[in-house]
Each structure stands twice: as structure tokens, then as C-alpha cells.
């Protein structure tokens, strides 16, 4: 008889279950884990302990059988709620803006590289030497088409950077009809490009056609996929461009998407005709540049988004700013409106206040440090503004474990 040893074994079993449950809790959004992970794991451990004592291992197995579907269902429920709160984005709009910008930058760069190598370099080399075998081997073709499809997929995903920036700056942290439609269109484009990219790569590798005719099937199915995907992409850019133009974003981000649309659509549509212009060598070089132009536009959009999506559209005369774009915006109005300093300051205050309130609305509740992380405000500025707003009764303040959390009243009713 070793009751102590048996009990140790039981405790180890319960602790193991608790550890596994804690690991599975990664299915929940970070916000839930941060607030309740310890308690939930502990609660599950208590239930395990109960079952172990009352029904033995069978009870624990039955508990797991109940707990697993419940965990999956409630995790999906929590993620769905988060998704809705983030204006149907998988992460906070600012995060989506950042990742989308990176996708656009990378996708655009890959697209430019593909067109310059494929048309301008290899095409010109073929014409000049009379040897058209440059880059025509099956593996080179497979690599080249993978590059192009990757560029198209990333460029489509990159439009979500613009969507994230629009949502982050919209008055109610809501996308609005235009931006919503633009996001749906961009999602359709991204879905189509990603699907055919994935299917193409797997199909070619599995069937062995990578050795003789890579992506051959794509050209047969091209009219079904390539046209609609391109159309969705352009439509997404147009709709998001119009939505961005009406948001309090930095001027570059309000103007650039529509300017790009006006430039790249005719360029893309006319690209093929350039082959008949001038000498053949000049023609293929110009064609490469022309067809790479949409991707150059996407890369520029990604670059500008990365720099400026979080920049203040108004002057910021004090406190740190998070980007060079914001810094430039900060200095410009100050030097321009020496006599209007007072009105600029109140405008800055209003913009900061709005930024702070939007961040709280997006996250439900935030601490001072959280506000400083999510906005361009410094900790001191965030602390001062939150205290003022709470003191006037505009914000609800709660204390959890000695930490102050600020939230909007109407969001919590």
C-alpha cells in the first residue's frame, strides 16, 4: 500500500491533463488567453481531479470527450467575435496594414523582377543573339511562373494593407460599404491566385509535368481564372482607393491608390501593343517595363503603407512619432501656420483623442501602456489623456489585479 505514491501519480495525471489543456488553449485569441488562461486551465484541472476521484480514468476520458469539442466550439466563437470586432480582419487593423504592406512590397518587387527578367532581359537577349533558349528550360519556366503567381498572390493580399489602414482610420473602426466591397474583391483575387498557384505547383510536381511542360494547364484554364482574378484585383484597388481617399489618412495614402489605378490599368491593357512599336529589342524592353508597372505600383503602395499607415494626417508637434512620414507631416504645418498655432494644437489634440478612442474601441479595453503601443501617443500623453477622459466620465475605468483598464461605456453595455 502506498497511498502517497498513488496520490502523487493521480496528481501527476491531473497536472498532465492541465498542461495539455493549457497547450490546446492556443486555439483561443490572445486576449482571452491573457485574461483567463490560468483560470481556465486551473478550472479544467479541478474538473479532472473530481472525475479522477469519482470515476477514475474513465471519468477523465469522458471529461476530455466533453471538453475537446467545447474547446473547439468556444475558441471558434471567440475568434469569430474578434473577427467581427476587427472589421472582419484576422488581426487588429494596424497589424493587417503592416503585414499587407509587406505583402504588397514583396509581391510588387517579385512582379517587377519577373517582367524585367522575362521580357526585357531574356527577350532582348534572344532577339540580339538569335538564340531563344535563354530561360526556356522546363525548370526555368517552372521557377518563372511560380515567381509570377507568387507575385500576383502577394500583390492581391497586399491590398489588405490598404484595407487595414482604412479601417484603422475610419471613424467607427468600421470598414464602410466601399472598403468592404474592395476587401471582398481583393479577397476573391487573392483566393483565385493562391488557389491556382498552389494547385499548379502541386499538380506539376505530382504529375511530373514540371519536367516538360510546367503550368501548361494554366494557359488552358487561363480564361476562366486569370481574367476574373485580374478584374477582382483592379476592382479591389479602385474601391479601396476611393475609400482611402475619404479617410483621414496621410495625403500620399489618400492619393496614391487612385493614381496607381489610373496609371496601371491602361498600362496593363495596352502592354501587349507595345511589342509592335519600334525595333524588336526596344519593344521587348519597353514591354517588360510596361507590364511590370502594375507591380511597381503595388510595391510603391506597400512601401508608402509601411511608412505612413500609422502616421498622423495632422501636425504632431510634441511626443514621439512612429514613422518618418509622420515626422515630416509634423514639421510641415508648424512652419506653415505660425499664426495658427493655437488652432493647430487643438486640431492635434482632437486627432490624438480620436486615435486613442479608436484604439480603445478596437481592443475593447486598454491600459496606458497598451494605448501607447497601439497609437502614436507616448506613455505620458496616453496617461494624461486617459485620466482626463475618465475624470470627465467619458471612459469607464476598471481595476484588475492592480492595473487600470480603460474602455468605452457604450462598448461595454
Amino acid at each position: 500500500m502506498d497511498p502517497g505514491g498513488r496520490r502523487d501519480g493521480r496528481d501527476r495525471g491531473v497536472a498532465g491533463s492541465e498542461r495539455v489543456y493549457r497547450a490546446l488553449m492556443r486555439a483561443y485569441p490572445q486576449e482571452v488567453r491573457r485574461r483567463y488562461a490560468d483560470e481556465m486551465a486551473k478550472y479544467f484541472g479541478d474538473l479532472c481531479r473530481e472525475e479522477r476521484l469519482s470515476r477514475g480514468p474513465t471519468g477523465v476520458a469522458l471529461l476530455w470527450a466533453r471538453a475537446l469539442p467545447e474547446l473547439i466550439f468556444t475558441a471558434l466563437q471567440e475568434r469569430a467575435m474578434l473577427f467581427r470586432r476587427n472589421a472582419y480582419l484576422p488581426a487588429a487593423p494596424g497589424t493587417v496594414a503592416r503585414w499587407g504592406a509587406l505583402c504588397a512590397l514583396l509581391g510588387g518587387s517579385l512582379g517587377v523582377a519577373f517582367h524585367l527578367i522575362e521580357y526585357s532581359l531574356l527577350g532582348a537577349l534572344g532577339i540580339l543573339t538569335g538564340d531563344y533558349s535563354y530561360g526556356n528550360g522546363p525548370f526555368a519556366r517552372f521557377f518563372a511562373f511560380s515567381l509570377l503567381l507568387g507575385a500576383l498572390s502577394l500583390s492581391s493580399l497586399g491590398l489588405f494593407g490598404l484595407y487595414g489602414a482604412v479601417v484603422a482610420r475610419s471613424s467607427e473602426a468600421r470598414p464602410g460599404l466601399l472598403a468592404g466591397a474592395g476587401a471582398i474583391s481583393s479577397a476573391a483575387a487573392a483566393f483565385l491566385w493562391l488557389t491556382i498557384s498552389g494547385y499548379g505547383a502541386v499538380h506539376d510536381l505530382a504529375s511530373g509535368s514540371v519536367f516538360f511542360a510546367p503550368f501548361e494547364w494554366l494557359w488552358n484554364a487561363g480564361t476562366l481564372v486569370i481574367g476574373p482574378a485580374t478584374l477582382f484585383w483592379f476592382l479591389g484597388l479602385l474601391l479601396l482607393g476611393i475609400a482611402a481617399a475619404s479617410q483621414p489618412l496621410p495625403r500620399r495614402l489618400r492619393v496614391l491608390p487612385l493614381a496607381l489605378f489610373a496609371l496601371i490599368v491602361p498600362s496593363y491593357l495596352q502592354g501587349g501593343y507595345l511589342e509592335t512599336v519600334g525595333s524588336p529589342v526596344v519593344s521587348v524592353i519597353v514591354t517588360g517595363f510596361a507590364q511590370g508597372l502594375p507591380f511597381a505600383g503595388v510595391a510603391i503602395l506597400g512601401w508608402v503603407l509601411l511608412r505612413d499607415y500609422d502616421a498622423e494626417p495632422l501636425a504632431v508637434s510634441d511626443g514621439p512619432v512612429e514613422s518618418a512620414g509622420a515626422a515630416r507631416e509634423a514639421t510641415r504645418p508648424a512652419s506653415r501656420t505660425a499664426g495658427g498655432a493655437r488652432s493647430d494644437t487643438s486640431g492635434v489634440e482632437r486627432a490624438k483623442e480620436k486615435e486613442l478612442l479608436l484604439a480603445i474601441r478596437r481592443h475593447g479595453q486598454l491600459t496606458v501602456a497598451g494605448v501607447a503601443l497601439e497609437t502614436s501617443l507616448s506613455v505620458e500623453q496616453a496617461d494624461r489623456m486617459l485620466s482626463e477622459l475618465a475624470g470627465k466620465g467619458h471612459l469607464e475605468v476598471r481595476v484588475e489585479h492592480g492595473t487600470l483598464f480603460y474602455s468605452l461605456w457604450e462598448e461595454r453595455g
Partner: protein, 139 residues
């Protein structure tokens, strides 16, 4: 913190069975999560077993909605209830807010109205002669 909550308790009705039972569990005293789960299970005769995701998901929404609040924390001595023991001192306690009490009262009043309607129609308590309702044997 001087602003008044503007939400009408009636707007939150009807409550889900889980939310109602959690509010009922907290009606008489503040409890930690395990205490809430235990109270609900015992009160419902084991018919309602709250899993961690359901319990804390509901608690999160109720805390966010201002129906329930976390108490400052109760430093209890570590207890051993003979079931492996648990350290109650590390647990977070929850209690009803004034708003939560009003929501619970409104929901109970709503349910009382439902019961009155059922009584008026003769379908409650079960077995009472119903108006226009007849069992197959009565035909």
C-alpha cells in the same frame, strides 16, 4: 467614472441559460470560476455542466458588459478539500454588479411572465388540464 451606464437591462433579454445560471450562482455571494461551475451543476442536478470555455467565455462577456465584476481578490488560506486540494488564494472571484442585479431581476420577471402565461393557458404545471389541449386518451 462619473458617467451613468446608459444600457437598459431589458435590452439584454432574454439571457442565455448559461448567463442566467451564472448570474444566479453569483446572486447570493461572490465566487471563483470553479465555485460557479460547482454551484450551477449542483443546483441543476448535474444537467448543466459548464466547461472552461463556456464558463469563462460567458464570464468575459458579462464582465465586459458590466453585469459581473472581478472582486479585488480574496486571500484565502490554501485549502484542501480532500480532492487533491486547491489554492483558493490564487483564484479570481466574481460578483454581481448593480447593473447585473437589475438584469437578473428583469430576466426573472420575464420568466415569471412566461410562467403566468403558461398557467393561464393551463399548460403549467405539467399535468394540469389544458385549455384546448387534450391527450390522445381523452378523445
Amino acid at each position: 467614472m462619473g458617467a451613468k451606464r446608459r444600457v437598459d437591462p431589458e435590452e439584454l433579454l432574454p439571457l442565455t441559460p448559461v448567463a442566467l445560471n451564472i448570474l444566479l450562482a453569483l446572486a447570493d455571494e461572490e465566487r471563483h470560476g470553479y465555485g460557479i461551475g460547482l454551484e450551477v451543476r449542483e443546483r441543476t442536478g448535474g444537467k448543466m455542466r459548464l466547461g472552461p470555455g463556456t464558463l469563462y467565455g460567458s464570464l468575459k462577456r458579462m464582465v465586459d458588459g458590466g453585469l459581473v465584476e472581478e472582486s479585488e481578490g480574496r486571500a484565502e488560506d490554501e485549502t484542501d478539500d480532500g480532492r487533491g486540494g486547491y489554492d483558493a488564494g490564487r483564484r479570481r472571484y466574481y460578483r454581481l454588479t448593480g447593473f447585473g442585479e437589475r438584469v437578473l431581476a428583469a430576466e426573472l420577471a420575464r420568466l415569471e411572465g412566461v410562467v403566468r402565461t403558461a398557467q393561464a393557458k393551463g399548460v403549467f404545471p405539467p399535468g394540469s388540464p389544458g385549455r384546448g389541449v387534450s391527450s390522445p386518451g381523452e378523445a
